[in-house]
Subunit: 331 residues, 2 copies
């Protein structure tokens, strides 16, 4: 325990407070001369249901304090996951924060931003002392909300939330020569999740007699084409697929691949054939269906969080792959 | 906009407020007769740095209100991801909430729970009116924190947070006959994440000349053994591996599999051989290393959130697999 308040290290104290996750809000008001003001705050919380009341707190040194202190109304916007830049804009001082923003009409004058997870129009009810901040309590006089996944703030960084899942099962692990294998291993979960997704593509893979290796080659060539045998091998090696001469010849013989128009000979470069294009389109049509069904089952909040975490993981484990998605013409 | 406060539907209003994510706290105090009291609250927030102050609010109808109103000190505990049941216990009325809980000593008398992400010992500073709740503002006189991932509450459910990742790349998608393929597709991200993880296992797979199919068969038999050919095929079909007679014979010839002691003949059931056990142990040793390195890179917060989401996804896309992890003796 840190037990001497006067000597708390402010950074350490903030870090400890930061373990309490919050959403992110922008609170807005309008000065008496009509100027809109707004500030990013994560000190929001609900207070009362009857009457409906919420609170937030503002530093006494904030330039907008005078406006909020004298406004009869202010609006709280709970930001959506897509509004990180808006949050940054309203957290900085000095620029015209409302420049270029489309606003909705408010019956009570304070600016209403768009694209938020929820909005609360409030009548200023109480202002309370709170150390170096003032606590503003407002009575909610109007609100709306939508299903946009909210933006979060945790330990000083933006974050996403995901609702807790029921465990896949409750049985624990097998032990094997000191190495244990359990359903809590990310390696296992990734494989099972990946293959359960791939399962939905198998009807099209079977209809076109595509192996997983064929599918990966055609997927790659549908994103970037033409590619030499060496480039194909380099892009695919992390999947365990060896794009060697044998696989290349088989795919050529099955008319899944074709030589690029400027191919110099047997060494490629290779592109996807008309038949290969038909095959991969059939697989990707199922993939699109599976993706939509999955997002519907997971919900948008979880889908956004899962995409985010998989990107984390991909960055954290990148074995130095060639950049697939950067177009060849990019710098 | 819902614009008639007196007629707000309380459920809808709570749902709108619920889009603001929060951590979960338990606030404790001690009655004058020494009885400990505690209540789950997500209405916590930080207020001031100098002096260090926090706030939370309590329903005026709460049975513990009298104790909190008259206590000179109370403690706020920011709950960790593992404390969901503790949160439920302190959210319910009527039972002895502290039964069986180990407490730490507090210099100021209020109970200090263990296993939390952070704890703040507070001197009661202000009590403010807030509609049907009272707002308690306390000056923090001691605190501690640790790196445990915190528990979250969002739209009425427990949740996990994950910090936002940088995008894997900024280039968009390829379009192909109406089906598009982009790095935002969960199907793509799952495959890439899975294979990047598998990449770390390839040295051991190559040393033992194990194909991915061999690896999946041996992994399965290391968790559940013996299994008939039909059971092996059923468990593995979702991976795209066909455990047919040819694969079985090859793995037997390579002494990766062996007939179970009570095998009736050529139909199995099969178990892992001593050589197979050695091979899979080598792979799983690399998997354990890769897992630890991955969790270290991602951080515990993200690793917990990713496990959670992959379990969501696995449940949402389960093609009706036999239950691998339920032991055969389970009901």
């Amino acid at each position: 325990m840190q037990t001497a308040p006067s000597s708390f290290d402010p950074r350490d104290f903030r870090r400890a407070l930061g373990t309490f996750a919050t959403g992110v809000t922008i609170v807005t008001a309008r000065a008496q001369d009509g100027t809109p003001v707004g500030i990013t705050a994560n000190s929001f919380n609900s207070v009362s249901l009857q009457p409906p009341m919420v609170l937030w707190s503002l530093a006494n040194t904030a330039r907008t304090r005078e406006v909020f202190s004298t406004s009869s109304h202010w609006n709280v916007h709970i930001l959506s996951n897509a509004q990180e830049q808006l949050s940054n804009r309203f957290a900085r001082a000095g620029e015209d924060k409302f420049a270029g923003l489309a606003l909705d009409e408010s019956a009570f004058g304070a600016p209403l931003l768009r694209g938020c997870s929820a909005r609360f129009e409030c009548r200023s009810a109480f202002q309370y002392e709170g150390g170096d901040h003032t606590i503003f309590v407002g009575e909610v006089v109007a609100y709306d909300s939508c299903a946009l996944p909210p933006l979060l703030y945790l330990t000083g960084e933006y974050a996403l939330a995901s609702r807790k899942a029921a465990p896949v099962s409750t049985e624990p692990q097998a032990d094997l020569a000191g190495a244990s294998y359990s359903e809590d291993l990310l390696g296992y979960l990734l494989g099972r999740a990946h293959f359960q997704f791939m399962h939905h593509l198998r009807p099209a893979l079977q209809a076109y007699q595509l192996s997983d290796a064929d599918f990966f080659v055609l997927s790659l060539l549908s994103v970037r084409s033409p590619l030499s045998q060496a480039d194909l091998a380099a892009h695919l090696s992390y999947t365990g697929v060896h794009f060697d001469a044998a696989l290349c010849q088989t795919m050529l013989a099955r008319q899944l691949l074709a030589a690029a128009p400027d191919a110099a000979g047997q060494a490629g470069p290779w592109q996807i054939s008309a038949h290969g294009r038909q095959a991969i389109a059939a697989v990707l049509a199922l993939a699109t269906q599976a993706e939509e069904a999955l997002v519907a089952r997971l919900g948008e909040i979880e889908a956004a969080a899962l995409r985010n975490l998989l990107k984390h993981l991909i960055l954290a484990t990148d074995p130095g792959l060639p950049k697939l998605w950067r177009s060849p013409s990019a710098p």
